[in-house]
């Protein structure tokens, strides 16, 4: 599965105005892989991309491309091309001249340029747009021109900096599929930066979750979703109930004063841990048959399911269920061993995973993402 490494970042540290943006970052990217750098704004993902592109030079650490150190290689000599956040198309040139820009710089011959331009415009579904002015194009079309322009240079690696952020939801979903198809058919490496977890999960071979200038977890979308390494990842990717627990022995964890079977091992005896339970994994049963009982405090209809907030001894959980349980009803829940995921304690413990202040948190999150996450996760599995 893993082919050879094309890009390797070793111990990269970057500071802007005395503030650490990247802190000892290590990352290896295989040739032909679709890698997504995912994290909240300010986590250092765009800086990482700009280091690879040659627009930011690290304070310390090395960037290797094909095993060669790129420290002294300026941006215009690197075999990578970037798709910028707001496309950065050249407004004084038409579509064709934009796409041909890189090839003309390299003084390729005219016939070859014309052929490549036509090929690229076909690839991004813009046949016949050659002579159009940039400012007559829609956002989606400009995005396609930006893709064609970057790919026309025949890069080994394509860097994409939140390329779909400016598009509306429907168009964004279409472009996700198209980008993935382009990546598969060309077989080149894509390094994709986004803060949108749904985008990351549905497109990537590998997801790199970042926060505070550090990598929190690297893995396949399924790994990231099903086996989050700490409370930050569990909370950032999808919805999670995160509780304090104690690992008694392998495969046996205690929380809320009860012991549960689980599938995790390798912890110390009596080690305090974070327990993650995904809202969609919880089964609701009549109160007398449940492992735990709680009271429903809020219900929101989300289309596919009801988002039900349940109070268990003062700790509020989110449960996603297709059945409706009215507010104030008392319900029981059953947890199967595979529904329980154990994480080591981290600096993020206690910060996330409690839905007591749910109403505020609700506003912060883009609602559609909650549903989409699940669709995406299902599509991947």
């Amino acid at each position: 599965m893993h082919t050879k490494e094309i890009i390797s970042l070793k111990d990269i540290t970057v500071s802007f105005d005395g503030e650490k943006v990247l802190d000892g970052l290590n990352l290896n990217i295989s040739d032909g892989e679709f890698v997504t750098l995912l994290g909240p704004s300010g986590c250092g993902k765009t800086t990482t991309l700009r280091i690879i592109g040659g627009f930011v030079f690290p304070d310390s650490g090395n960037v290797f491309f094909d095993g060669k150190d790129m420290a002294d290689l300026p941006a215009h000599k690197r075999q990578v091309n970037t798709i910028f956040q707001r496309y950065a198309l050249f407004p004084h040139l038409n579509v064709e001249d934009n796409v041909a820009f890189g090839m003309r710089v390299q003084r390729k011959d005219k016939a070859e340029i014309r052929e490549t331009v036509d090929h690229m415009l076909k690839l991004v579904n813009l046949v016949g747009f050659n002579k159009r002015r940039i400012d007559t194009l829609s956002g989606g079309q400009q995005q396609r021109v930006a893709i064609a322009r970057a790919l026309a240079n025949n890069p080994r690696v394509l860097l994409l900096d939140e390329p779909l952020a400016a598009l509306d939801l429907k168009l964004r979903k279409d472009m996700q599929v198209e980008l993935k198809n382009i990546q598969k058919s060309l077989g080149i490496t894509f390094i994709y930066v986004t803060h949108d977890q749904e985008e990351a999960l549905s497109m990537s071979d590998t997801v790199v979750v970042m926060d505070n200038g550090k990598i929190q977890q690297i893995g396949t979308p399924q790994d990231i979703y099903n086996e989050p390494q700490n409370a930050f990842v569990a909370d950032f990717i999808g919805e999670s109930n995160i509780l304090d627990g104690i690992m008694h022995e392998d495969y046996l964890v205690e929380f809320f004063g009860r012991k549960f079977r689980c599938l995790d091992a390798g912890f110390d005896k009596k080690e305090p841990v974070d327990v993650v339970i995904r809202p969609e994994d919880i089964d609701i049963v009549p109160a007398d048959k449940g492992d735990l009982t709680g009271t429903v405090t809020a219900v929101t209809f989300k289309g596919v399911h009801f988002e039900t907030i349940v109070d268990f001894k003062g700790f509020k959980w989110m449960i996603q269920t297709t059945d409706y349980y009215p507010v104030d009803s008392v319900i029981g829940i059953v947890l199967n061993p595979e529904d329980i995921h154990i994480m080591k304690k981290s600096e993020y413990s206690g910060e996330f995973g409690d839905y007591s202040s749910y109403s505020e948190e609700f506003d912060e999150m883009a609602n559609p993402e909650i549903d989409l996450t699940e669709d995406a996760a299902e599509a991947e599995t």
Partner: protein
């Protein structure tokens, strides 16, 4: 009310343009008189173009204006890019330093430049007051106008454009010319036209910085008027008025022309 405002406007325009109109009319008068109209003639224009002193002054004015425009446009554009690329606080200070000479009384600038040139000449023997000092002072006072015209264009330009060109394999300098220059070109052209107009127009600073050897038109006219006022000067002034008018109209057209793209840039 409407008639009142019309009359008011009429009076204002009369005061503004009547003197110029009189000057233009009498430049075509077939007589030395500045009072009596003797019929239409181009004789003062003919005499004007036979006057060696005026022709050489015209040559000085035009060559100074052209060279000062080119040099100040290059320096001003580079300065604007520099101001844009430093941090915000320093940029604001630099811009204020740039703007100051424009509001500084011209006579102060003129005397200051003269003192500087005299000082340099006395201590080093270089820069004898003459063509070089005239040119240098014109370049000096033109630069701020160019900076002021280029700055807003730089602000509107997408900062990623330059990076995109470099990303596509363009070396930095060529990326600047291929991508940034077209973006800020309207500002550069307006700045250059403005510099040209300012240089053509200038009298006060030129009076202090041109030596006896090379005087530009305005200084020459001033000297001529002290001796005798001939209708030749009317003809010359008419031509200068016409030239500056055309330039101003050009600048305005350019600015109006670049207005829609400015709005478009913001809405993105």
């Amino acid at each position: 009310m409407k008639t009142l405002s019309r009359i008011y406007n009429g009076i204002i325009f009369a005061f503004l343009y009547a003197p110029i109109l009189v000057l233009i009319v009498f430049s075509f008068n077939d007589s030395k008189s500045r009072v009596v109209w003797n019929g239409f003639s181009l004789r003062w224009y003919e005499e004007l173009f036979r006057d060696e002193e005026i022709l050489s002054a015209l040559g000085v004015t035009l060559s100074v204006a052209i060279i000062a425009t080119i040099v100040s446009t290059v320096i001003g554009t580079l300065a604007a890019i520099g101001i844009r690329s430093v941090n915000r606080r320093l940029g604001r200070v630099l811009l204020a330093v740039n703007n100051f000479p424009m509001v500084n009384p011209e006579i102060v600038t003129g005397i200051a430049l003269m003192l500087l040139f005299v000082f340099i000449y006395r201590t080093t023997g270089l820069l004898q007051p003459g063509y070089a000092t005239l040119l240098l002072s014109h370049i000096t006072f033109c630069i701020p106008y160019v900076v002021l015209q280029v700055m807003p264009k730089l602000r509107q330009a997408n900062p990623h454009l330059y990076e995109a060109a470099v990303d596509l394999g363009c070396p930095p300098v060529s990326a600047f010319f291929k991508v940034m220059v077209p973006e800020i070109l309207p500002g550069i052209i307006t700045g250059a036209l403005m510099a040209f107009t300012m240089s053509l127009d200038d009298f006060v600073i030129s009076l202090f910085t041109s030596g006896a050897s090379s005087q530009n038109l305005s200084v020459t006219i001033y000297a001529m008027v002290k001796r005798r006022v001939t209708p030749e000067i009317n003809a010359l002034s008419t031509l200068m008025f016409g030239a500056v008018l055309i330039l101003l109209v050009l600048i305005n057209i350019l600015q109006i022309h670049s207005e829609p793209s400015r709005k478009g840039g913001k809405s993105k």
